[in-house]
Assembly symmetry: C2
Homo-oligomer: 526 residues x 2
């Protein structure tokens, strides 16, 4: 073979050969990743459009010897138009239009990787059934990907009348997968999803695992809006493409119509500062001017910060509901920070600390990481959140390890700085790191208050109990001396103690019951 032989590799073929980049390392990771991608598509297709998600997932062992499994996922989402189904499942880089808006599946790649991995291990097509909202028809397809052409091969196509006005998408794939290897992670993934999305109903059926995560609330977080790019986040190539679509405009029009948080006043002030004529046509900009415009847009300090209504944080209330229900925590304190931005991309950090209850005491906090509501389970060591939690001064917040403490950190952004296409760790972006630290501090302050109060309550109860021990004897002796009825003396003594300590006998009983219950639970066989 010559030294100088070159070839163009079709895109689908490239991804098939490099599947570990998208998290498809081996049959264990691949099965986990398949569940993840399908679940995330289902949640994106529902809650983003104001629909309370109901997701049904099933894993079945199809052939034990060959390690073949099938994965079925069904949702009640907005569905995919019949004619688009083949491209959505069978063409890499084909997806719902790129919008500046928070999505779980930012890369639009996961679904195709599922199909590619499935067909390269079992040679079987993906089965899809879908109907859009109010559609008269339900469409069914069986599709494979022609990796050399990067185009779908349609093996089967059917239409049915949609009498029930069902909408949503159902997908089934056959793949080589290691159920035993992936089981624990899948269980963890689904439970963690339920923590961050308590408004979702998720049913999972596996060979020896059934999970039914019930809807805990019907309150949805506000759906993210679509947005325009922030002037600080635009590069030269993007600007060129935007100008192509607005050739007739003046610079002033172009800036106010195409960018986020830029009104006429801001645009004028900027153009003057940058030395551009507001009335010049954008089509007439030279390449050098274009580059200078981008630089100036990056340098300008007068822009308003990116708008955050493209983002959809979970909110402290939903976080607390989710964490209490799934972790069985005694108390949860959650915080949603104000929007910030890095490189022109808006983001919000949320944090929650969960204490006690069923959380097992450990030497450092259990960390639950999320990005755009996706639970991140792998590569914890590479995630900036782990660093922040490890460096946090817990002793300032009355936490002494081992402690029954779990920390939830959620970052939402129109652009999560993932370190890999497998979407498992958030990179060290200083702005995000700082917000994580502040969010944790805010949540930990609430925890400290709670722990202080508990400590004080405990002290009071101890005092109450130690005083109450003498009530009977004192009342007895006083009764003999004074002739007053002992029962009345007992009552007034208790009242005296309760007034002094601010604790009632009911508190004591409640507390004692709680302690007993906890002790019984701990003693119960696992």
């Amino acid at each position: 073979m010559s030294l100088y032989t070159y070839e163009a590799l079709p895109v689908a073929e490239w991804f098939r050969r490099n599947k570990e980049l998208a998290g498809f390392h081996n049959p264990t990771r691949a099965l986990y990743q398949t569940i993840r991608e399908l679940t995330e598509n289902s949640l994106d297709a529902t809650e983003t459009y104001g629909i309370l998600p109901t997701v049904y997932l099933r894993v079945k062992i199809e052939d034990e010897q060959k390690s073949w499994v099938s994965v079925y996922a069904e949702d009640n989402g907005i569905g995919i138009p019949g004619d688009e189904i083949p491209n959505v499942f069978g063409r890499v880089f084909y997806s719902s239009k790129y919008r500046i808006k928070q999505h779980r599946g930012v890369f639009g790649l996961g679904l195709k990787m599922v199909v590619l991995y499935a067909q390269s291990t079992t040679n079987k097509p993906v089965y899809v059934r879908s109907a859009t909202v109010k559609s008269d028809k339900i469409y069914e397809y069986q599709i494979m990907i022609d990796t050399n052409k990067n185009s779908p091969i349609i093996l089967d196509r059917r239409e049915y009348p949609n009498r029930q006005k069902w909408h949503g998408t159902a997908v089934k794939v056959y793949l080589e997968g290691n159920w035993l290897g992936a089981k624990k992670r899948i269980e963890e993934y689904i439970k963690r999803t339920a923590i961050i999305a308590p408004y979702a109903e998720i049913v999972f059926k596996g060979p020896d695992l059934e999970l039914w995560l019930k809807r805990r609330t019907t309150k949805l977080p506000p759906a993210p809006k679509e947005g325009l790019p922030h002037p600080k986040s635009v590069d030269v190539d993007t600007l060129k493409q935007m100008i192509q679509a607005s050739r007739g405009m003046t610079l002033l029009e172009f800036l106010t119509e195409n960018f986020d948080a830029v009104g006429e006043g801001t645009a004028k002030a900027f153009l003057e500062w940058a030395g551009f004529n507001p009335n010049a046509k954008v089509a007439g900009l030279t390449p050098e001017e274009l580059v200078r415009l981008v630089e100036k847009m990056k340098q300008y300090e007068g822009w308003r910060r990116p708008r955050a209504d493209w983002l959809s944080p979970v909110g402290a209330e939903l976080l607390e509901i989710g964490a209490k229900a799934i972790l069985g925590a005694e108390a949860v304190f959650a915080v949603t920070r104000r929007p910030e931005s890095y490189g022109g991309h808006p983001f919000i950090v949320e944090a929650a600390v969960a204490w006690g209850g069923q959380i097992p005491p450990s030497d450092k906090p259990i960390l639950l990481r999320y990005a755009n509501k996706i639970p991140l389970l792998y590569d914890e060591g590479a995630d900036v959140a782990r660093k922040v939690v490890d460096e946090f001064h817990w002793d300032n917040y009355k936490v002494k390890f081992p402690a029954p403490l779990a920390v939830i950190i959620h970052v939402c952004s129109t652009k999560i700085p993932y370190a890999s296409a497998g979407k498992e760790a958030i990179a060290e972006v200083p702005e995000i790191e700082k917000e994580m630290r502040l969010a944790l501090r805010d949540a930990a302050k609430k925890l400290r208050l709670y722990l202080s109060r508990k400590e004080r309550e405990q002290e009071l109860l101890n005092k109450y109990i130690s005083l109450a021990k003498y009530v009977d004897e004192v009342a007895h002796n006083f009764s003999i001396i004074t002739g007053v009825d002992k029962g009345r003396l007992v009552d007034s003594l208790y009242k005296l103690i309760e007034k002094k300590l601010g604790v009632t006998v009911e508190d004591v009983i409640k507390h004692a019951t709680a302690v007993t219950a906890q002790a019984e639970e701990l003693a119960a066989p696992q």
Copy 2:
């Protein structure tokens, strides 16, 4: 905008938008990554073809205010044919033909990411000059990438006569880059490259950093050979493509001609075991038979292991030369393990432990990670090598921390299981983890021997010195009693001690000198 809007994103545009996946997070990482990609291309274009590499790198600040820098890289490699230059630099997924052979740049993506990042920050083309071996002409180009068409835009093209018969490639790009931020990592990267490739001459010139890593040896590691896929590593899609190219063959012919380590005997035994007719034409296989064939190929235990001559380990000798020269270690012990395989991909693990000298003592070993001779500097926490080194029982090997200890771990493979396209961490593959552990054990055993010997020497020298203290006095007294000349008595007493301890006065002097030199070096201002 409708709920149901879809679009196909051109591949180059997709990568431009997701550049952090390839390590281009921000101006610091992007500058580092640019140096890395260009250096690795240069090394691949030289040593892989038996040429001793000479690489010249230069970073220049072009515009301080805009953070524009230029990066220039030149090598003496095999060059790129003139007509291929535009595609090699201007078309994503176009690269030298996919071969089963160890390369640094396995993804063929890095170079295009450099060009994409450069043009999207400065709107300037990449400059390329190249001549192939024995070419009569030198070609010069200025190229940009049309991201919508994924094709090169040629802005300038020149040809010159190649009178000196120069061969190699020179590249210059202008990009937004943070020199101050990246400087330390770049220095580290180049030094670490020199450790693993002591046969390379690397000159680096930066704004306030000059490095000249001289060639320490003219011995090149054996160049990797090209290979065929191992039967265990093939999936259904690959097999289909291979069959397309061999439609006329029988199954027996197909297996023996297209696979590694499969002779006629092996092929026959396998086909009989798997229940296939050796004389059936491959073109006639049904889809079901094809899938069954792949499964059986995976399950069969009778294959020979993958051949390792596709691999190019550095070798213990070169590792020791490199580590001594660059780390300034007192002693280095290196080990190259035997080839192993995971999922049909051959790999070799090499490890070295470097002790003392200029290595500063620290609480845990300094770790230098390499994959296919690429130094890995980021995401250490996510790398399986860090885990192996941390879990290693150093106390079994006479190492007590703080210790002046550095560990080098090198994995070479036709397929490194990277966790991301940024190529910074090796994933947890059990087979590789095991080999790392064994390599470390083998190297640490040698270190233990060395440390034991040092310990024994030290003891002997101490004894020598404590006995020598009395020589003069004893000789003096004996000389008076016996009348024998004191000088002769001194001589024979020393000989007695030396015979008894096996240590000579020269050893003592050498040791004392070394200790003094070390003390002076430590005391010298840094």
